[in-house]
Each structure stands twice: as structure tokens, then as C-alpha cells.
């Protein structure tokens, strides 16, 4: 089996997770998680705090490698290739599965340099090509109209939602197959949230999205499939409309209704 994370087109299932378990020291954060995500599909991960949503996202691009307490077992395949094996180039994997964090985390650089940061790290040094890809990424993140006038000004001067879009553009510049969104609108007001959702809606056409969110309406609006996690386990998953309208598990029903879980 090839362990390279190189792209292989024409594969229906983009991401396939099987029997994934994650421990932080002796605490098990994910239990037997299995999930299959098709290409250009959007999956929402919902659940209470500490249910394993962020851990699942971080497992997908192996950011858990950075945590000395984390240990992982199971299977995680992208385009049919195993991503947890020792031969996988983690840097290449992370460029293919980009991640947006809950708070906008910009580097102390200009807007342009922030977006170009990942490109240069990936070995792209041609100024024209970098400029073109930065512009395209900012356009895809719907922030070009604002950013084009302050392209070489410090990025922290932008508003919080614009900063988050620049963070998204930084990921998009690397042309990822999968985008992992870890509650990216958690610090936004409702208007900014809706604007960011517009961007996500456009990305659904050509990227596979995994969206962890506490905002149930957002999950309902943006996703094709919804997974409900509790205590590191996927309790229920299925078509978003079905999960929201006819949940099969009482715990899902309680969560969606905002009720405390039954004993």
C-alpha cells in the first residue's frame, strides 16, 4: 500500500477514518471513531465541550504529533492512502489538510506575508507566482476587496472576522483538498458569522470540509452530514437534515433540544 500523501484523483471517498483512538496520557479522547467523507462534502462535528471534536480534527492532519501527551491508534486514509504510517511526510499531509483555528492567529507580518508564509515554507519562491496565489486565495476567502488596499500593512490592523478570513486564505493558498475548521466563527457576532459562512459555502464546491462547531444552526446550514460526538464517541451520524429532524439516539435529541442528557 502506498504511504505517500500525494494526490490521486478520481477517488470517491476523500477521507476514511476507521477505529481511531486517541489518548492524552491515560485519558481516552477518541473511542473507536469511524467516519467516511466523500470528496467535496461538508461534515459538521457537533457535541458538548470535551467531546473530542477538536481532537478528531487534529488527528486528521496529524497535529496531534505536536502534543507530547497524545498517542494514536487506528486508521486514517486520504484518497485511500494510509496517513498514520511512519513513511508519511507530515508536512505534505498538513498542506493537503489545512486547518483554521477557533481564534484568528496571525503571524506578526503583513497581510501578504501571512498568506505567503505557507507557500514559501512549501518551497515556492517565485515572486510572481506567490503574488498570484496570494491574490487568488484572498479572493476565495472573500477578503480581497478589503485586503488589496492594506496588503503590505500589518495584518493585525484588520477586524477579527477579516483576520480569520486571512487565516483561511493562508490555508487556501496551499490549495488543500481538505479544510479542517475548528469552530472558526466562535468569536464573531452574528453578522460576521453569516459572512464567514458565505465563504465556507463557496468552498464546499471544491474542497472537503470538516467543521467542528457549537453553533447548531451553522452546522445545519453548512453541512451535508452531521456527526454527534459525546465522550470521544460518535453517537449518531447521518444526513444533516435527518439528524436534525429525526435523531435516532435520545442523547442526540436532548442535545439538539438543549436539554441536559438523561441519566
Amino acid at each position: 500500500m502506498a504511504l505517500s500523501p500525494e494526490r490521486s484523483p478520481a477517488v470517491e471517498t476523500k477521507l476514511e477514518i476507521a477505529q481511531l483512538n486517541v489518548w492524552y496520557e491515560s485519558t481516552q479522547a477518541l473511542r473507536n471513531v469511524s467516519l467516511s467523507v466523500g470528496a467535496s462534502r461538508a461534515v459538521a462535528l457537533i457535541g458538548p465541550a470535551q467531546s473530542g471534536k477538536t481532537t478528531l480534527l487534529r488527528a486528521c492532519n496529524r497535529l496531534l504529533d505536536e502534543n507530547p501527551a497524545a498517542r494514536i491508534s487506528g486508521s486514517l486514509k486520504i484518497d485511500g492512502s494510509q496517513m498514520l504510517g511512519p513513511a508519511v511526510d507530515v508536512a505534505v499531509l498538513r498542506r493537503r489538510a489545512g486547518m483554521v483555528f477557533p481564534r484568528p492567529t496571525l503571524l506578526p507580518l503583513s497581510v501578504f506575508e501571512n498568506v505567503a508564509f505557507g507557500l514559501r515554507a512549501a518551497g515556492l519562491y517565485a515572486p510572481d507566482e506567490i503574488a498570484a496565489r496570494v491574490e487568488r486565495a484572498l479572493q476565495r476567502a472573500l477578503v480581497w476587496d478589503v485586503a488589496k488596499n492594506v496588503l503590505h500593512a500589518p495584518a493585525y490592523r484588520l477586524s477579527a472576522d477579516q483576520q480569520q478570513r486571512v487565516c483561511l486564505a493562508r490555508v487556501l493558498a496551499l490549495d488543500p483538498d481538505i479544510i479542517l475548521l475548528d469552530d472558526p466563527t466562535s468569536t464573531f457576532d452574528p453578522v460576521a458569522q453569516r459572512e464567514f459562512e458565505e465563504v465556507i459555502g463557496l468552498l464546499r464546491c471544491d474542497c472537503t470540509l470538516l467543521l467542528a462547531t457549537h453553533n447548531l444552526q451553522q452546522a445545519a446550514r453548512l453541512s451535508d452530514t452531521t456527526c454527534f460526538l459525546v465522550g470521544g464517541e460518535i453517537i449518531e451520524s447521518g444526513e444533516t437534515q435527518l439528524v436534525f429532524s429525526r435523531p435516532t439516539d435520545p442523547r442526540t435529541e436532548d442535545f439538539l433540544a438543549g436539554r441536559p442528557p438523561r441519566a
Partner: protein, 287 residues
């Protein structure tokens, strides 16, 4: 095919490749540092034993006219030139090796390994080598060879003995980078050594400069006294005797006082620059 079967992993079952690479890199550099320090210690011990076998300098009869046997330069600038030369050799070498070790530690900080847990105590122990030990080793290095090679030997001794300290300082510089920035860098697929350089440049460049100035001042302080004494070394007598003779020589007093003042100023300037850089770093972090 998963990397392990479904069962709670044992302590080492899921050590990931990036951690292994980081561990290997650091272990190699750290082991090299330990070996070099052991060699330096052995060299120092051999020199002490050799000196004891050949008899202490007190057994030598002072010449009737030591001034006539002065062989080295009496210029007050000579100690300064020698000190600067020694620092110019030792500082870049120390910075490069210690910087490399710090990158290894940065990589290692993402790995749950025994080396990582043993690291703070072992590095703390090694940085606990007091400057007086460095001074003693330098003294015996100077005793061993009064030829022009003495500068290179002193520089080598400085590199070896300052490595743990320099490594710890550079590692501290790495820890000034916020965790969020490390996460972002990792998530963008920036490889570890490059991430260290890029993020330290962005978040801790002033701290890096402060480390370099502190090291330079420290090395100057460690070297200056010995070099000052060596500059007034007399004939074939051991350094201690030479210093004694030179101290008795009224012609040296003014020159030595001047050289002392210049070297003290040199150390002070290094420390002041380091302090200024740290203040800038604090301002940068606050911003």
C-alpha cells in the same frame, strides 16, 4: 491498515516519526556535547596532574632580573586584541552548535520521550558548571601552550564549556514563541528547523540578539583575566610565576591597568547591549 491494533497503546507503541527524528537529532548533538565536556575535563585533569608532576611554580627560582626575559608584547591593546580574537572564533561556533541543539530541543518538545523528561535536569546540571571551572581549564590550556596557538586553544575550550549554557539560552528563546504560532506553523506544514528559524525571527529576534551579546560578554569575562596575564607572561616560567613577576614590574602597571579597564568596559558593553535587547524583546512581546 492502522499503525497498531485496537488496544490501549503501550508507552512506546505510537511514537511518531517526527518525534523520532527530533529525538535522534537532539540525542546526537547532546551526546557530542557531553563527550566534548568529558574530554575537556580529562584534558584539564591531565594538565593539573602534569603540572603537579613537573613541580609547582613556587619551586622555581625567580630570575634575578625577570624584566629582561619578557618575551610577549607589552602593548596594552594586546589583551583586548587577543580577547576579541578568541571571542570572534568561539562565539559563532558556539552559537551555531547551540542553535542546532536548540532546534533539536524544539523538535523534541513535541515528543513524549524519556530524553525529553531527562533534558531539563541534565542540561541544568551541565549549565551548573561554574565560570571558575571554565577559568581553570583556560588557565591550564594557556599553561600548556604559550605559542600563537593559545588563542585557538582558548577558543576551543570556551566553545566546549559554554555549549550547555548557550544551548539552554537558545532553547529559552524558542519557548518565547507562542503556542498558537507553533500550531499555525505546524498546520501549514512548515518543517521543524525552518519553523524554529522563522518563528524565532518573528517573535524572539531581540532575545536571540540578547543571548549572543550575553555570550560574548561572558566569554570576554572568562577569557580576559587569563589573556591579560598571558600578555605579560615571562620567559619559560609557568603562567602563575609570570603573573607574579609581571605584578612586580612597575613598567607593566599602567599598561595592565589600562587593559583591565578596556576589558571590563568590553564586558559591560556586552551586558548592556544584552539588556537593551531584552527590553526590546519585552516591548515586542507586549505589542
Amino acid at each position: 491498515m492502522g499503525i497498531t491494533a485496537f488496544s490501549p497503546p503501550s508507552r512506546w507503541s505510537a511514537v511518531l516519526p517526527t518525534q523520532i527524528r527530533g529525538t535522534a537529532l537532539f540525542a546526537a548533538i547532546f551526546a557530542a556535547g557531553v563527550i566534548l565536556i568529558i574530554v575537556a575535563g580529562a584534558l584539564g585533569a591531565a594538565l593539573i596532574l602534569g603540572w603537579l608532576w613537573s613541580g609547582p611554580p613556587g619551586q622555581l627560582q625567580p630570575p634575578t632580573s625577570p624584566i629582561s626575559q619578557v618575551t610577549m608584547s607589552l602593548s596594552p591593546w594586546a589583551p583586548l586584541e587577543t580577547t576579541l580574537l578568541v571571542i570572534a572564533i568561539a562565539l559563532p561556533i558556539t552559537a551555531i552548535i547551540a542553535g542546532g541543539a536548540a532546534v533539536g530541543m524544539w523538535d523534541l518538545s513535541a515528543g513524549a520521550t524519556r530524553i525529553r523528561r531527562a533534558l531539563p535536569s541534565s542540561l541544568g546540571w551541565m549549565t551548573g558548571i561554574p565560570p571558575v571551572v571554565i577559568g581553570v581549564v583556560l588557565y591550564f590550556v594557556t599553561e600548556l601552550d604559550r605559542s600563537p596557538h593559545v588563542g585557538a586553544l582558548s577558543a576551543a575550550a570556551l566553545v566546549i564549556l559554554n555549549l550547555p549554557n548557550a544551548t539552554a539560552k537558545f532553547a529559552h528563546v524558542g519557548w518565547l514563541v507562542p503556542q498558537e504560532a507553533r500550531d499555525v506553523s505546524a498546520a501549514l506544514g512548515v518543517r521543524s528547523p525552518l519553523a524554529f528559524l522563522q518563528l524565532v525571527r518573528l517573535y524572539a529576534s531581540w532575545a536571540c540578539a540578547a543571548v549572543l551579546f550575553t555570550l560574548a560578554a561572558q566569554m570576554a569575562g572568562e577569557t580576559a583575566a587569563i589573556v591579560l596575564a598571558a600578555a605579560s607572561a615571562v620567559g619559560n616560567y609557568p603562567l602563575a610565576a609570570s603573573v607574579w613577576f609581571a605584578a612586580l614590574d612597575p613598567r607593566h602597571e599602567l599598561g595592565q591597568a589600562f587593559a583591565c579597564a578596556v576589558l571590563i568596559i568590553l564586558v559591560g558593553v556586552g551586558r548592556t547591549l544584552a539588556h537593551v535587547c531584552l527590553r526590546r524583546q519585552e516591548a515586542q512581546a507586549w505589542h
